[in-house]
């Protein structure tokens, strides 16, 4: 009985709705994960901290990949839910300093707040069965309005308990996640391991989800929503659930980010932050979780390197990258590369096969 469950879990995890199957892929995956973990013991605190910062954004990007690539809904709202997660965490954690488990409760509140607001937003949008372009617009507006709103919360009257909202300067001094004596600050190896564990868990869970029957339901909605209704699915509810899950992942990223940097400000929710997840997802390839994971880390690293040398060009380059991707690599750069590699190896296999059968023929073997 138990082997049956493991086999079916394996079958789902290895399913067709995501790039990369088979023993070679999984070996590489395990090796890479191990390498990441080992690096936690040998790398310098500086590079670990940097890497951890990039990794913290991965859940948010994977959430958008699931929402956009698998469910067909484009949202500019991940930044808004990132901010909500971070700010609510800050509000709760700042007031529970000294309480055991206070930061964990704060994390739950932060992620929970993102999901509740997303569910409310989703109710209006999905149960109205609106046209596709409405959601990108309204989520963009949500991000912009939240940025403006939080930007003008300077002043002593804007606070909860002893935590000030902080206006444009943002909320500072937010305590990092902490379990007992173990503190997950930005400059700690503990945080690095936490984030690596988080992204591996999120990736594998989402990978499992997209190949399960719930994942197929989501894909069916993307392919033909009305047809899926006619097969008995409550499509509106499914879409709200996917939207809420993506927001929860964005909230998780927000909580991780705040634990890393101990601050959160409105500019994390504005125009450019709202676009970044869309760029990462589009450039990587929205139909593959792995592609988005890779592109997010690479593009964050790219922006980081540019910030040192010529920071002003960073967003210009990202904008150009987005445009080029949409025009010439519509399925994403990583996904296009993977598809080309796959078809080339298939062509090589076919060529080898015809070569060997030709050889067999000339030798008189059929």
């Amino acid at each position: 009985m138990k082997t049956r469950v493991y086999l079916s879990v394996w079958r789902v995890l290895n399913g067709a709705q995501e790039l990369g199957q088979g023993p070679i892929f999984w070996t590489l995956f395990v090796l890479l994960s191990l390498a990441l973990l080992v690096y936690g013991f040998v790398g310098s605190i500086f590079s670990l901290s940097n890497l951890a910062n990039f990794f913290a954004y991965v859940p948010m990007a994977l959430g958008l990949c699931f929402l956009w690539g698998y469910s067909g809904v484009l949202s500019f709202g991940q930044a808004a839910f990132f901010g909500i997660g971070g700010y609510v965490y800050g509000l709760v954690a700042g007031n529970l300093v000294g309480t055991w488990g206070g930061t964990l409760l704060a994390a739950a509140c932060g992620i929970g707040a993102s999901m509740v607001i997303a569910a409310a937003f989703g109710y209006f949008v999905f149960y109205g069965q609106v046209s596709g372009w409405i959601i990108p617009l309204l989520t963009l507006v949500l991000s912009l309005i939240l940025e403006t709103f939080m930007g003008q919360t300077a002043g002593y009257q804007w606070r909860l308990g002893r935590v000030l909202f902080g206006g444009y300067n943002g909320m500072t001094g937010i305590p990092s996640l902490r379990i007992g004596p173990l503190e997950f600050t930005g400059a700690s190896t503990a945080f690095y391991f936490l984030v690596v564990a988080a992204i591996i868990t999120v990736y594998l869970s989402l990978r499992f989800l997209v190949n399960s029957r719930h994942g197929y339901a989501v894909i069916a909605v993307r392919e033909d929503a009305e047809r899926t209704r006619m097969l008995g699915y409550n499509v509106d509810l499914i879409q709200v659930q996917v939207f809420t899950l993506a927001a929860g992942l964005a909230g998780l990223s927000g909580v991780l980010y705040v634990s890393w940097g101990n601050y959160m400000n409105p500019s994390s929710m504005g125009l450019v932050p709202a676009t970044l997840p869309v760029i990462w997802t589009a450039v990587g390839g929205r139909h593959s979780l792995l592609a988005v994971l890779l592109s997010t880390v690479s593009l964050k690293w790219l922006a980081d390197s540019l910030a040192v040398r010529g920071g002003e060009y960073a967003f210009l380059i990202l904008g150009a990258l987005l445009l080029i991707t949409m025009l010439f690599f519509p399925s994403g750069i990583v996904v296009s590369m993977a598809q080309k590699w796959r078809s080339r190896s298939r062509q090589r296999a076919i060529a080898a096969h015809t070569e060997s059968s030709k050889d067999n023929q000339t030798r008189g073997i059929s």
Partner: protein, 246 residues
Amino acid sequence: MTPTGRTTKKQNLLQVQDLTKSFGGVRAVNHVNLVVDYGELRCLIGPNGAGKSTLFSLLSGLQKPDAGRIFFKDKEITSLPPFRRVRRGICQKFQTTRIYRGLTLSENLFIAKQVLNESANRNGRLSWALKTLGIEAEAERPAGELPHSHQQWLEICMALATEPDLLLLDEPTAGMTPEEAALTAEFVINLNAQGMTVIVVEHDMAFVRQIAQFVTVLHYGSIFAEGTLAQIESNSDVRRIYLGEQ
């Protein structure tokens, strides 16, 4: 009056009262009253534009009627959204195939069989159907690459996968060769013999003749005539409305 002469409500699977639907200035369905028994195999025929497909979309919930009521298993479903009707046991196979073209045949069926008629008992009809129609072998092919008749059969199987009590087939043999249509006819008869109630909308009179028990004729959105196949075929008014179209 139902085909078997019963008039008591309890035996009716589907009862349509005074159903009306207009589009723009056209009245597509005009005060239709219809009763379908458990276990019937009913054919719905009529000239082009008679309102057959509109009636189906009112039954499955794609469209809301302007007036009238629909009862299924003695419960009113008039304002129920489509997905709830599927869960009650009505499933439609569409006129133009709406399968998930990018997914394989088995993936299509996997999606179709997740949500079931809540009052159904599992009875293995889907595997029987797949075997009879002969599309099992193509399980891993993308549905969009299947030949047209196989796509139609896949759609029927997807509808069956929800284990309906009432199956609505909208022109199931559209685009099929006579041999494929005959196979489909035999399939529908066998399905009905196993107890499935089926309503079929069809243009192809040869197909209708192979399967029909009781026939309802629609014309300009109203019920024009009802009766056995023999009665309808000998009805001169019915012949007139068809010949008039030709």
